[in-house]
Symmetry: C2
Subunit: 195 residues, 2 copies
Amino acid sequence: MLLYDNAISGNCYKVRLLFSLLGIEYERREVSVIDRSNRAELLGDLNPGLRVPTLVLDDGRPLAESDAILVYFAEGTEYLPTDRYERAQALQWMFFEQYSHEPNIAVLRFWAHAEIKPDPREALAKFNGGLAALEAMERHLTGRDFFVGDRATVADIALYAYTHVADEGGFEIARFEAIGAWLERVRTLPGYVSI
Amino acid sequence: MLLYDNAISGNCYKVRLLFSLLGIEYERREVSVIDRSNRAELLGDLNPGLRVPTLVLDDGRPLAESDAILVYFAEGTEYLPTDRYERAQALQWMFFEQYSHEPNIAVLRFWAHAEIKPDPREALAKFNGGLAALEAMERHLTGRDFFVGDRATVADIALYAYTHVADEGGFEIARFEAIGAWLERVRTLPGYVSI
């Protein structure tokens, strides 16, 4: 398999993390997240969103969107719940991640890495949106070990990716006790790799 | 079941549409998308994102995020593919919808409905983002009847919700031929209800 990948992208890291946890082999091809001029040429036939990660399966069929890739490979493993309601809860948290978490926390981190100076009003809106997402996670994790059921699932992998580097976007993760303990639980899963 | 619902929200409409297609009965409770002051009180224990739709199942368990609700109820019906790769493709399009489509197209429509005058630069960014999403859909639908496989799935329901009212946000949907034909295919599904 070939993963169109980026070393700094949390969305790409999700896939690398699950592959490592499951011992899945793949090749990777680095794609810039700064210079996007070759995206249509590179990914146009593979991924309508022109985003990374984009995966090409062994048989040549493409698959895109980080969280859809996670679900595909987690099927039949301990990382996707077998219970229908728990599976839906895992999806709920993954859609939460892509709608309420990533567009705020990942984008602030990206701006910091790329040394982009955003409009202050826009940056503040993203900071407040990111804080609200972290507060929702903190409330949910209080008294729980993982997001769904009692073991790590794709929901944890999806939310871990940008939460564990949220400080690079200006968030004080140390303020969130339950999140801190959960990050450590993910970090000690057998097969864990760092971003 | 109780659906925390909003009459104008496309995200809520997705759930009402699938329920109608499948003949599923439910009660609904209208939640304002303008005055959000009671959201924490109303939804705090049910949905970490405090968004509608939020569903309470017959046994009292909550489920949130429109596309996660669709997958939950589509399982075992013709609206969720049985093939693992097609199921992942349906998820891919649903994550595309929540990341690249809804934040642009639904938000411009909401601003028009709520008579909110946005910052012109922000409005333009959303307009261009929405156009890119529609162009990606048009390319994919050219030569295809539905987004995944050869029949309507949850991916079509998710993308139909805000695409069929995109003109309310300023998009000229009539310019997109393949999208137009696809909208008509969804509109004539047995059990279809309008927004």
